[in-house]
């Protein structure tokens, strides 16, 4: 079982990450790739800045990944989360889950995203069109409710 977890400032290449997970294998029947992208919120934002807690970010994501592996028969897992400044349209987070069958891949990716949103130590701040630093993004009750589906 291949697990790759990375916290990085750089963008990522979904195709290369998928190839790394699946190449040379004939047991993987399903790959779900979730990509989270920076939105401009109707033109209001010029960027998002992501602060993170180095050390804990890696540890917490590894913990979340281990839970996913306990719950679903996964054949591969890749989680990449960026920090620093990202521009509208840029990717922020990637979750790749590979399994023999689609149900496990879908559910694991969905679970991982809900848990990353509510438990991984990252915080987003808005950068506004008028050049000022905007507010810290507020956590959504909806995300907590989504995470509670898995309890």
């Amino acid at each position: 079982m291949t697990v790759s977890i990375r916290i990085q400032a750089e963008a990522f290449d979904v195709a290369a990450e998928t190839a790394a997970l699946t190449e040379g294998r004939a047991d993987i029947g399903a790959v779900v790739a979730f990509t989270g992208l920076c939105r401009d919120e109707g033109g209001r934002l010029t960027a998002l800045e992501l602060e993170h807690y180095p050390g804990m970010a890696e540890a917490e994501i590894a913990h979340i990944a281990a839970q996913a592996q306990d719950r679903w028969p996964l054949l591969g897992l890749t989680i990449i989360h960026r920090f620093g400044k990202v521009l509208p349209g840029d990717p922020i987070v990637l979750v790749l889950a590979a399994s023999s069958h689609r149900r496990a891949a879908f559910e694991a990716a969905d679970f991982l995203m809900d848990y990353l949103k509510t438990r991984a130590p990252f915080w987003k701040r808005e950068h506004l069109k008028d050049g000022t630093a905007g507010e810290w993004v507020e956590a959504k009750d909806l995300d907590d409710e989504a995470a509670q589906r898995w309890l």
Partner: protein, 83 residues
């Protein structure tokens, strides 16, 4: 003991981290927050809504009632908004 702060908790406290010597009787995360709030208005402001600020002990999420004995690094931060 090292304390670290993130996002708007960091901004309100006015620093990214600090080393503190705790007085006797500070046994839990909640005790630590109460003590910090007695140290000045920047801490009072950061922790004005205690229920909102989250904590982690040595990189693991911790509840207010968690014991802090033996901790090397305690972090305070707002609810996470990554992903």
């Amino acid at each position: 003991m090292k304390l670290v702060y993130f996002a708007w908790v960091r901004e309100r406290v006015g620093r990214t981290d600090e080393d503190v010597e705790l007085p006797d009787g500070i046994e839990t995360v909640a005790d630590l927050v109460r003590w910090l709030k007695s140290r000045g208005e920047e801490y009072e402001y950061a922790f004005e809504n205690e229920a909102v600020v989250r904590a982690a002990i040595d990189h693991v999420h911790a509840k207010p009632e968690a014991a802090i004995a033996g901790a090397r690094e305690i972090a305070f931060f707002p609810p996470m908004t990554g992903g």
